[in-house]
Subunit: 366 residues, 4 copies
């Protein structure tokens, strides 16, 4: 039970600092025989890559992933898969002065209090750059899921950015990949763009809510009582940098509902049980119902802003911190592929656990 490792059977250990020579993921427990190539993983890394729009950090990183082990002739062998991404843009001079300073809202101060010795360059281990390794590992998970359950689809998108909310009545899956915000509403893109431009110009940043949906996940995966599917999804999403809240299905709004409103009534359909609604987000008692898995998480506004904030130095003396360089005014945008990757890892892990614990769906209905 290691602190930089995630998962029960499909286990991902990420390693690396923002400005060290490289970062990556050690992926253990992937089934053998799964087709995996660097190109397959690069596809997802390119989604997360910085410097793609005016709204993301201008750091230039190719984020090229290399597979150092565990794959032979284009297929996994069942042994650990080492995924390495070399850091090419290590302009640590931009960050030099933070070695003695604690940026408000950052982990500088708590890492110092815990470890004493930290790599201050670019936030070191606490940098969101760590999530590149997750995205690469998530790419492996996606391929392995495909080999086990053919029709699972995992999609993330933004549903809120500061004051902007999506209009669910205009929800359009096809729009998501067509805009810089991953929003399912082409008509709203211009407004979101203007809003975020204003935020950036005012030297500020803003929070966001990302929703991730998985379709086609079979009923019966998950496990009581602490290895629940929702427990593991909550942990997965909360482990992403800057995330402050996680919701399954109705989420926090469930508190305002009555039992009569919240009940997903059950009917017998041609292929098994069907539900009148999906307040549960596809999970009952920690186990999947076969409906869409629906998870949302809130990302706080970027702490690195151009507006001065008061803080202290290591020696306790006061200082005003102004972040230099370019930072994402809304880190939530680049959290979309990260949320998808975590969803993929959790689903694969529970598919494997289910096989290990049960072998196959045991209880038939109808």
């Amino acid at each position: 039970m290691s602190i930089n490792t995630f998962g029960h059977l499909f286990r991902v250990t990420t390693w690396g600092e923002s400005h060290g020579p490289a970062l990556g993921a050690t992926v253990d427990g992937c089934p053998p025989g799964v087709p995996v190539t660097p190109e397959m993983l690069q596809h997802w890394l390119d989604k997360r890559k910085p410097g793609q729009s005016k709204h993301t950090t201008q750091r230039q990183e190719a984020d090229l992933v290399r597979i150092l082990s565990g794959v032979y002739e284009g297929k996994t062998t069942g042994t650990p898969i080492q995924l390495m991404i070399e850091n090419t843009d290590q302009r640590s001079k931009d960050y030099g002065d933070i070695a003695e300073t604690f940026r408000p809202g950052h982990a500088d101060i708590t890492y110092h209090q815990k470890y004493g010795n930290r790599d201050p360059r670019g936030g070191g281990r606490s940098s969101a750059r760590e999530t590149a390794a997750r995205v690469a590992a998530g790419g492996v998970a996606r391929e392995a899921i495909k080999a086990l359950v053919p029709h699972v689809e995992i999609r993330g998108y933004m549903v809120q950015m500061g004051e902007m909310h999506i209009d669910r009545s205009r929800f359009d899956w096809d729009a998501i990949d067509q805009n810089d915000f991953w929003i399912p509403d082409a008509g709203a893109v211009e407004d979101w763009d203007a809003y975020l431009g204003k935020i950036r110009k005012s030297k500020n940043s803003v929070g966001a809510v990302v929703e991730v949906v998985a379709r086609g996940v079979p009923a019966g995966i998950g496990a009581p009582v602490y290895g629940k599917l929702d427990t593991d999804l909550a942990a997965a999403m909360m482990s992403i940098n800057a995330v402050k809240g996680v919701e399954i299905g109705e989420g926090m709004a469930a508190a305002a509902l009555k039992g009569t409103d919240n009940a997903d009534e059950i009917f017998m359909g041609p292929d098994g049980p069907e539900y009148s609604s999906n307040h549960s987000g596809g999970i009952l008692g920690g186990i999947s119902t076969g409906q869409d898995l629906v998870v949302r998480f809130a990302v706080k506004p970027t702490s690195s802003i151009l507006t001065p904030r008061r803080s202290i130095r290591k020696d306790g003396t006061p200082i005003e911190v102004v972040t230099k360089g370019r930072h994402d005014p809304c880190v939530g945008i680049r959290a979309v592929p990260v949320g998808e990757a975590m969803m993929a890892c959790v689903i694969l892990d529970h598919l494997l656990l289910h096989r290990g614990q049960v072998g196959e769906n045991q209880g038939k209905i109808g």
Copy 2:
């Protein structure tokens, strides 16, 4: 990495079904020499016990905890502590017909789909009765925390029940233990009582939000990147029955904030760093800041209601389900001591992990 076990070094495995002979918790990793008696644990179990007010289930359970191992002459020995609670009120006749039926919103259907063979009596393993074992284990954790860090205080309370919200301007710590709702506002109790009475009379139920705060937790506990303090708290709370959302500090509301609003500015105080605010909920980069740890979770409305809901039987035929017997119209109330217990377990676990990985706070400030 077991599915009914929670924690890294302080590991709690709960076992038992709602209407089996007994349930309990196997607690491994508690430091030796901690004073623990059945009375200490009973104090917290009595808080969670059903049948204490008109708003909780009338099931009569003494919920008496026995310590079968790991404690010698009133002190822990460092070996596994077995906590057993015998089920005395096993009126399984109330539940008999559900063996063939899936109650909407319950885990009946997913347990069937995963395992095939389930104990249907009272919900079996998926019953909220399992949380009694957590509360007992949390009692052990509280004593061990006390032995390590003297002044930690862990308090839970309700902040929302359906349409009712607490008024934070009237927040009163002393009121919490004085009312059936664990709300920090004596003046609101009458309204909440009337509201819930109305819900119950209308054969309905309602959701809730519980907040748990821990004061006095030292800075520097927690760990990157998947063993974060917030990750483990999110998992702990999401693992409680009926929980659908978890928030740390600002939680989901962080999405609407700007970077300037969300920053907790840092000052040097007489005893170390101090913060202008606590939007972070006491956690930065997964590590404690020394401020109050603030966690909230939403509990969905009880699925067992007297209003008929449509569902199916095992054989796929339709049925209308009406829950017989008395059930809590708001399970959120009894989730308060459970949330506290989980908070205690996570804090102890990270205090121990911190010792194991670091030994002591390394980085001094000022």
Copy 3:
């Protein structure tokens, strides 16, 4: 990764002290639908029970196992199985003076040095009595193996006791259950009996070697590099009280062999690969070959003897320790069913892991 827990997916946590109210095993990860009754488990516990022959301790323990959870209507449900054995013969007066004294060869001194607070009654947690819980858990594992792979047979027997060795040329499976020593040679029983009688009369004790064989285990279970089948078997056997050495196949004798002698040549048989010999003990590269799994372990002579030994008290003053009461002159005898139980747990665990990681044998031969 808990210290009183064993296994990856089939996880056994034992708890309890020699003279506490009860001891037992919390068994998590057992597949659902496996027939398990108290009688099935009692069969194995009766094999290990003390007081059955003149060569085992005269402590009278019924060692009755109760199943408190995880089994419904005679079949496992997939949820944790709690197995409890109450201690009925708690004559702690026999042991009273050892609270202040360290018996040579016992864990009294090291438990004191580690924990400070220990239960001295009957050795507390370090007593071989803990192995009763393992035997109960092993009974569950045997039934689950049967449900997954029909023809696995697990048999343990003694191959050495002090100066006595079995004669492998007279090996007789049927003899094993017919004598007090579990030896596969009816003709040798009288000699072994006389030898041990002499040891006991001379107020002494003697060591032993136990061999455990599993037949019918399919090829392909196990896993590189630290979850190897032999690694887990070595850990399982070394975790048994008083064990000082573990061997797989040729074991320590492999050191004296040449490569030409040690090679198990491979042939194609009617049902798959066959081997000319089994020097490997059924394991290559940590993965089963389909041959018999062969494990041996050495048990040191009982440290509790009637001959005085020099030691110290807690306060450092010297003392001569003479063990009162009746103790097994050869604890190796009762280690036979314990070794079998551990073998069963490891095999089940790896059968489940194999399903979780691979699903089925992937590589066909021929």
Copy 4:
């Protein structure tokens, strides 16, 4: 609980194949502030490096280790340490024909049966080359131990090679590093050399026994019942390629001893308890006594020999296998630094666990 990971708190995951681009170790849980440089690790890797004497494989590998993360300005940061060794000598043509053939005594056949898809080049994941990563990780462990407990010394040496045994009456610590066999007896080197030369010329190989001793380990580390120090040492050593037996203290010979002979009597010395002998190998009840930790393991003879052995191809047809290229006639020699590395990892892990679970030695004596 991952299958390529070893350790509880100090967790080492090795990755990489014999002839892939690189191999390495992901090391999580190392305390911060420990001085670690590539040079420190290279020192131990050079000990294990092939091609150093006529008795080891002539494969030319620089085995240069790079530290990719977790170390900043020469000190560990507490975050994962990635150690990478690039494979420079990838002459896979020597191994090409084994893709369709199973070498007797090798894991070729079992990997095929488990995974279907394996990297056949040089044995892939099952190659002893994997142990280079362990040696690098062991170097980190040694430095961390030094930071926690100053005077621990870990030394390995051969005690047997085929028919050759060391003469313990001539034991000389200083001789160990002065000869190709790591034997503590300079006078025996010539004989061992001649013996192994003869073995090699006869196109054969031979087994060995390696002993590893740790001095200065404090009393009180280790843990009941499955996380015992001896359990973890047995697992650590058995996980090394080709190891078939593990002994602690007296080991298998304990079976022949009487209780009177095996007892290590206890005396009070000036600095705490002392023992009349060390039959226990420094461990009682799974916890260290403060005496020397003594572990031995047997390594089977190299399976790759120039003498033809009968085997089958994937398609089941018979074949005679003769290993081409140069292989170590006694792999036990190069297992010496590997055994030391595993000992270092286990000791560090238990030092950390002890802090996490207890904090400090609790029970004083005298």
